[in-house]
Amino acid sequence: MKTFINALLDNNPVLVMALGLCSVLAVSTSAYNALGMGLAVIFILTFSNIIISSIRKVTPTNLRIPIFIIVISTFVTIVDYVMKGYFPALSKNLGVFVPLIVVNCIVFGKAEGYASKNTVIDSILDGLGSGLGYTLVMFFIASVREILGQGTWMSIPGGFPGFKVFGEGFMNYPVLMMILPPGGFLTIAFFMGLLKFYQMRRGK
């Protein structure tokens, strides 16, 4: 539990190490998108960790990076096609960011830094944990942006209209900036600042 909280707050890949920012900001326009992207990343991270850690003893050191790339991009392709087939609306919203998971620093960093040195079981846990940390941050940021920018929460395109957080009056005049690109930068800035503030207070 302590290591989990440590990974979530003190070493949070997004907020503290500023890794994988592209997808976090681009996808966090609605909580549903963020959840879909998060699940995709958890899947890819866990399975590529399993493969990489199980072949770690036969992987030549010089060739490891191309091998990692092939393993990761295989799972990315699987996710891309499954999403296109079963969740076309989600796939359209996420667009080019699904194939771009291949160059997501979190996935690659975990393959290189953890899975290539540890056992399969440990790698599964690590993949799940860091994927969850990434998803959680993305989900929080997306919730803030969707609630302020649209007045709804968890709305699904072409399905569930979402919970109405504020009344009709707000829905007619939402803070449109929050779902536009500037709102993404602003939200993550305040999340980072808050986390730093919390750490400074705790340190005293």
Binding site: A18, L19, G20, L21, C22, S23, L25, A26, I65, P66, I69, I70, S73, T74, V76, T77, D80, Y81, V96, P99, L100, V102, V103, N104, C105, F108, M177, L180, P181, P182, G183, G184, F185, L186, I188, A189, F190, M192, G193, L194, K196, F197, M200
Partner: protein, 192 residues
């Protein structure tokens, strides 16, 4: 004319950093000094144009005829990694001046999503060769503009009295947010 519009749209209106959020990691990592940001900006222009032309040929003449489109993610990333490695070796051997200027940025570009994203977008939008070159120039030029602009602003921010928790990255994000807000203004540019 439409080529010019394509360039303008990629360069300003759909700026890769402020509107599409692609390539943010090196953007915030390398934008704290002016000279590194210029080096990074030019390296990105060079690599993006070169690799998107190569991936365009590969897609059009190898992947499409052989019905291997599902392999494009794997093929593109491997091609880009190879191209970057090749450029690095070539510079080291034949153009040491350029190597000493851009050499350190080249390995970083492999994991830069801009390169891969431009390759995908060119294929997704069905660009022809000329459009591919113009579009890649526009996108990577937009990246260079954004990173140089940001570095200039961040050097001034260094000396400003900012609340302690907001120093460093958070204030850089707020700056980016304000620039992005200004870039939204370009949206009306083509409507004229």
């Amino acid at each position: 004319m439409s080529l010019f519009l394509l360039f303008l749209s990629a360069f300003l209106i759909n700026n890769i950093i402020f509107m599409r959020f692609i390539g943010l990691c090196p953007y915030f990592g390398l934008s704290s000094k002016l000279d590194t940001s210029i080096g990074m900006g030019f390296s990105v222009i060079f690599v993006v144009v070169l690799s998107s032309v190569i991936t365009w040929f590969l897609y059009k003449f190898v992947l499409l005829p052989l019905n291997l489109v599902f392999l494009r993610t794997t093929v593109f990333i491997l091609v880009i990694a190879t191209v970057v490695q090749f450029i690095e070796l070539y510079f080291k051997k034949y153009i040491p001046v350029l190597y000493s200027a851009f050499g350190i940025y080249l390995p970083l570009i492999t994991t830069n999503c801009v390169v891969l994203a431009v390759a995908f977008l060119n294929v997704d939008y069905n660009h022809n060769l000329l459009q591919t070159i113009v579009y890649s120039l526009g996108v990577s030029g937009g990246f260079a503009l954004a990173i140089v602009m940001m570095a200039g602003i961040r050097m001034r921010i260094e000396t400003a009295p900012i609340p302690e928790p907001m120093k460093g990255l958070p204030i850089a994000f707020i700056t980016a947010s304000l620039i992005a807000l200004a870039f939204l203004g370009f949206k009306g540019l083509l409507g004229l």
